[in-house]
Amino acid sequence: MSSGRAHADRRALAAGERRFAILLVAPALLVLLATTTVPIAFLIWNSFQTINLAMPFLDGFAGLANYRQMSGDPAFWHSLQLTAIYTGSTVVMQLVIGLGLALLVLQIPRGQWLFRIFAILPIVLAPVVVGLFWRTLMFAPNFGMIDFATRALGLGTVNWLGSPTPALVSVIVIHTWQWTPFAFLVLLASLASLPEDLYEAARLDRASAWRRFIHITLPLLRPAIVIVIIMRAMTALSAFAAIYAATGGGPGTATEILNLYAYRISFTQLDFGYGSALAVALLVLTLAVSGFLFRIRTAGSGP
């Protein structure tokens, strides 16, 4: 038999599997291409246009004008700063509280299932409903539980959502409340799967609880921690509904993270060109942050 034919037969066999594979992925990938990539391309294209639904007579190619406007726009830099504060503080708090709780719950011999059920509750709620619940039931003056608590403690009424700094603190608290259970559940599952014998060995070596935590638990938990950070950061960067429902970005622009700013410019000011440019900035920021975090992850994982 000629080797040429063998080669052709081998290729035909591999091609059969490839064809089948392509047939299976094609629908999903075509849908993804059409529903995500085409709109993103359109978004980027729009960011170089003047598109103002209020003043359609001005529409046309704008070059880098939107981006130039962005670099000189104090509201943009302010929203970027808020994004950093919001994302950084919520991720850190979720991680610290979630890990602390997981360690605590692990010491409770019975009833862990109760925690899992209660932890699910905030996660499954729609963020917009969470925002509404907190805005009304918790923070509302003369009605909310937190207002009631501060008054009972003699601190008087704080207009939580009505003044800039308390409002920012409030939306951070809301986000942390909703998503800490995620970190908690993932870290609890990871902790429960750590090999017991390592701890026994460490105890035989007379390592203190703190040293066991630093030298055994944390390194073993590292992959789970990094992935929690990645996923939580992605959620925080694109947080919208809870803030929108609780403060609408206000008072003024006190809680208007970049996400909400891009939304307001587009849909309230109807400046879709500039709004697109802001959304592109958020997209770039998100991909940069996740790229950076993924790099940390692969750099740290051993062989």
């Binding site: 699910i120 039931l137 990871s190 996923m231």
Partner: protein, 284 residues
């Protein structure tokens, strides 16, 4: 763990129990308080300090379902939207995940990375172009438009979740099936699919929850004809600032499906979160 821990001192146990109870309370409080508020009459709601003992009424729930503030039609919309999104997502994602996980797919790494990146697109980056596109093609405020948009977040997520379930199935399964004269499609249908029913279940739960809870796309690209419960809830507050008891009742009704699913599928959700977290980035 308990066997290797030191004998817990009584004080330690008390502190742990109190701390644990406090956490449970904080997580449950807004929902529990919403239940309390929803059972009050509108006048009772405004009592200060808030009353705990009162005569409960189901009026608010009746109004939430039947009155002129009813969210019944929104519930229907949410059911249609979330179900259609889930069904379409599973149909598209499972075969794709199979190709990613098991077959010699050309440019697999590149395509996998592409899928991962699409999952990270901030929704605001999509809602802006989609508004212009759907407006132009006349699909604003239609099921077709909304389901299309919902696929943008459900599909990449579902593919990745399913890949991690498929990778757990031993390769010999297909090999045995091939030797048993099964075609590739028969191996997938008769041998693989029945073994990933659990994973499909978890994915279904996640996609359904996410579609049910979605707000940004719904409020901007739907709104009138297509008004899911999340949008209805938001409108509720904008219209009637002070009808807090009715708001609480309506919100509880709107969230009842996801709360029930969350509690029933608690184990699966935790598994999905963990699977996604441990393997989400394509660790292997």
């Amino acid at each position: 763990m308990s066997s290797t821990r030191r004998r817990p001192a009584t004080l330690r146990r008390v502190i742990l129990t109190v701390a644990a109870a406090l956490i449970l309370f904080i997580w449950a409080f807004p929902v529990l308080w919403a239940v309390v508020v929803s059972l009050k009459s509108e006048s009772e709601v405004l009592a200060y300090p808030p009353s705990v003992i009162f005569e409960p009424t189901l009026r608010n729930f009746r109004d939430a379902l039947t009155g002129n503030l009813s969210i019944a039609s929104s519930l229907m919309t949410s059911i249609i939207l979330a179900t259609a999104t889930t069904v379409l997502t599973i149909i598209l994602a499972v075969p794709a995940a199979y190709a990613f996980a098991r077959l010699r797919l050309p440019a697999r790494q590149g395509l996998g990375f592409y899928t991962l990146v699409t999952q990270m697109i901030p929704p605001v980056g999509l809602v802006i172009p989609y508004y212009l596109i759907l407006n132009r093609v006349g699909l604003l405020d239609t099921y077709t438009g909304m389901i299309t948009v919902y696929l943008t977040f459900s599909l990449p997520f579902a593919i990745w979740l399913m890949v991690s379930y498929l990778e757990d199935i031993p390769r010999e399964m297909e090999e045995a099936a091939y030797l048993d004269k099964a075609s590739r499609l028969q191996a997938l249908w008769h041998v693989i699919l029945p073994q990933i029913r659990g994973g499909i279940g978890v994915t279904t739960v996640f996609v359904f929850l996410n579609a049910w809870n979605e707000f940004l796309f719904a409020v901007q690209l739907g709104g009138n004809r297509i008004r899911p419960v999340t949008v209805a809830m938001h409108n509720f507050v904008s219209i009637e600032q002070t009808l807090w008891a009715k708001l609480a009742a309506a919100a509880l009704v709107a969230m009842l499906p996801v709360i029930v699913i969350g509690i029933l599928a608690q184990r699966q959700i935790v598994k999905g979160l963990t699977v996604g977290a441990v393997k989400g980035g394509g660790r292997r």
